[in-house]
Symmetry: C2
Subunit: 247 residues, 2 copies
């Protein structure tokens, strides 16, 4: 495997699945991030070392392409590649394969390093890219963006309060929780009958412990849902999800 | 290992930990249940087989004794024993050990089989106990019970709505979520400075998708918290937790 690639296997267990027995979208994101953290750790780029440089990685966008989600007791392989970066942005790819090597899901994400001192985007420190053995590039691939929600559409709203256990060791809300807030606004029976095909999500503003957020979904006539998570009038997250009926 | 014992190792990862980097109480419960499910599966007692007998396992009580909770990247061992059972109740024990075999936590639980037809407690089918190689007993150990909350105490309340992703493949709320609802009522800084030592919890009534529950905590002068989770006036869960200051 190239120095910028890394993979590891994982057994799907009951508490990672929904009531249809499929891995949840939130856990897919958790496991994509885990394989990249494990790649970093294998290159001695531990969270503590990165923190010592005064920065932390923050994701700004994901695009996911899901063929099908694995079920409880399936053993799957997660793979990631630190594909390309420039001064401010890093483009990372993710794959999920079943036991036969068939692709179940693909993901791409744009990450930035945030300065702990200024809470603003910082130049990516050279030391944290060097182990991948890639050179900076001029242009990074662009991810498809979520659509802006049409003002005329009818929507459903649910409020969620950020809980203590939503915060991870970095002191931020674990991004996987946004997927729970977004999808929980849809009816349970509809969720049981549909599976995610494509996700475009953009993280615009940070949500913090104790914030009350509003998760809004617009469900268009086609199998597409548009999601907004807001803190008051401020948009925290925008997403467009495409679905298909489950077999 | 005796036929009624089973163990497996586990690496603690970032999304299983709170913002101090320690495994959460909810994940401790998830992993205790996982080792027992894996023991069952190794004896061909899969959820589907148990379901085919018209019953499902439901926990009624736990008692936990926690020395310390492991941290992110620790490799630990979970062990369980189907220790004893009678006509209606099964007594199961759980252990968590660190990489040196030192005990980090101990748990005991009382489980019953519930009939899918009547939604009531059913005689435990002989077929699902036979693989453990133990005989039914007259008397089971009794677990310490949570204390009833004093009516004069001042309390904190938080409402929680049961989400679609709180339901597991059995169609029930995953019990681990009760621990999130109970502990999230305590202030974040207090949670950061304290660790769980002892938990006594009793599950009295089932919570379902869409229910709004109220989680109430009474924090006494000693390092003890008393918890009630209610659906309207109905008590779903009662718990008493003892804490100590973290090092």
């Amino acid at each position: 495997m190239a120095p910028n690639e890394f993979s590891e296997s994982h057994r799907v267990v009951y508490y990672e699945a929904d009531d249809t027995g499929h891995l949840t979208l939130a856990m897919l994101i958790n496991l994509f991030v885990l394989v990249s953290e494990d790649q970093n750790a294998a290159s001695k780029l531990t969270p503590a070392y990165i923190h010592s440089l005064g920065v932390g990685w923050v994701v700004t966008q994901y695009h996911l392409d899901v063929t099908r989600l694995p079920k409880i007791d399936d053993t799957v392989t997660f793979k990631t590649r630190a594909t390309a970066f420039n001064r401010y942005f890093a483009y990372r790819e993710y794959w999920l394969f079943d036991a036969n090597g068939e692709q179940l899901a693909y993901g791409e994400g744009i990450w930035v390093t945030m300065s702990y001192a200024t809470r603003k985007i910082a130049t990516i420190p050279a030391a944290i890219m060097a182990p991948y053995g890639t050179e900076p590039v001029k242009r990074l691939p662009r991810l498809p963006r979520p659509e802006r929600v049409a003002a005329t559409a009818t929507s459903r709203l649910k409020p969620y309060t950020v809980r203590y256990f939503d915060i991870d060791e970095n002191g931020h809300v674990n991004n996987a929780h946004y997927f729970e807030w977004m999808l929980d606004t849809l009816p349970a029976d509809w969720l049981r009958q549909h599976q995610v095909v494509d996700v475009r999500i953009r993280f615009e503003n940070e949500v913090k412990y104790g914030h009350q957020v509003t998760s809004e979904v617009v469900h268009s006539a086609t199998e597409t849902t548009q999601h907004t998570v807001k803190i008051g009038a401020t948009t925290a997250v925008l997403a467009t999800i495409t679905w298909q009926a489950r077999d």
